[in-house]
Symmetry: C2
């Protein structure tokens, strides 16, 4: 795996994921998009809406990873505290952002841009806006921290708008082959030998359980597509040797 | 929220979640089960299959939280390295576990309990088994760390078997009310006032976007069901004041 690629950490901020109320729907999207620009996600943390936890975690991960992405906690209600916690983490004032304020004020009828909504236009000093084409209220970047909404549809639009401003690494390519009826325990030894011959391809083994049959998917990832292809070709040959039928790609469904 | 409740951290170990290949299906289940026994999930981390990351994170979180649960990385293939990393984190030998070995050997035909499968019966010295009623190969507990499979069906069976052995706190109860057509920005001010009157109920506001109409769900959580009910009754009254129709419970779907 490339070591020169920038690293990324995602902070999912919200009691609702930790309580089990809400199924996370953001990790996979962020992971896929960042992998595609060569900034693979190196860690995810899910943390509660508690100021000292948010501030402490932010300061830890922004020092440790090249870029930090947050989701959640930038709405208008009392439990939306991400923005002021980011200001506290950076030690800068939390104050009205003129451009965010103007955009939001223009989007409401006279008198409806109330105090709760004005909080969404209040940001750490020095924040650069991340556009919100869905519901106006912007996210923002400050330093290497990118603050986005938690609602998946809004987060996705924000991230897609932000991506062109981010540094790029070498995208990681992924190749897969799968088969049914072959347990991991039978392919493991040969697979380890293939991994030994392809130190530049990161080979993962993932059992699956489907109505159409249980089986195993083998994925080779790396920055060199030809090497990933070659590793998967060897895995396919190994599957055949063991009496199974390899099928290129991930299992359906 | 109760401060005397034991705290829990979940470590999701696996490149496949960080790359976006796999949608996490374990966080919500673990969160719900632990909340029900009064050991609410306080943090989740998703980390890659890299020994130093697993060992370092384990040692950090096992010192910080009362209990740590891991999912993933205990299968038979070369990328399954959780078990030996746990041994390294605890500074104990990684060696065949007699009971795990006996169970697994008995489950295979003669000659099929091969070296790869024997790895699944190799554990940190002192490990206490977590039963696997789905596919035999056990998980284990050592100290305050509980090591489970990543495949959701197996993880769920393991956790349900483990729960009776865990300490219990005061379960958190949750009450909800929702309404359509009322944006968060209009209810925010009144909601903050209610939160102020109910410091013992943790009130969250969650917008939803559904074909049947957009709206907002308000959730009150705490260890006192009557207080949560009372908070939600005030929220319902607030919704009515604002011209919306409150519907008890979470929105459907």
């Amino acid at each position: 795996m490339p070591t020169a690629n920038p690293t990324a950490c995602l902070l999912v901020i919200g009691n609702e994921v930790l309580s089990g109320r809400t199924q996370d729907a953001n990790i996979r999207f962020v992971a896929t998009r960042l992998g595609a620009i060569g900034m693979p996600l190196s860690e995810v943390r899910v943390i509660p809406d508690i100021p000292e936890r948010i501030i402490g975690t932010l300061n830890e991960v922004r020092a440790r990873f090249n870029h930090v992405f947050t989701t959640g906690g930038i709405g208008p209600t009392h439990d939306d505290i991400t923005s002021e916690c980011v200001a506290a983490a950076f030690g800068v004032p939390w104050e009205p952002h003129p451009e965010a304020w103007a955009r939001m004020e223009a989007s409401y009828k006279p008198g409806e841009f109330n105090a709760a909504r004005q909080r969404m236009a209040t940001m750490p000093r020095g924040a650069a806006l991340i556009d919100n084409p869905v519901s106006v209220a912007p996210g923002f970047s400050i330093g290497n921290v990118h603050v986005m909404a938690g609602v998946p549809r809004i987060m996705q639009a924000m991230l897609d708008g932000l991506l062109p401003r981010l540094p790029r690494g070498v995208p990681v390519v992924s190749r897969a082959v799968h088969t049914t009826g072959l347990p991991e325990g039978r392919i493991a030894e040969g697979l380890a030998a293939i991994q030994g011959r392809f130190p530049d391809a990161d080979i993962g083994s993932y059992p699956f359980y489907r109505p159409g049959g249980n089986g195993v998917a083998i994925v080779a990832k790396g920055i060199d597509a030809q090497r990933a292809d070659a590793a998967i070709a060897e895995v396919s040959a190994l599957m055949r040797e063991l009496g199974a039928t390899p099928v290129m790609g991930e299992p359906p469904g």
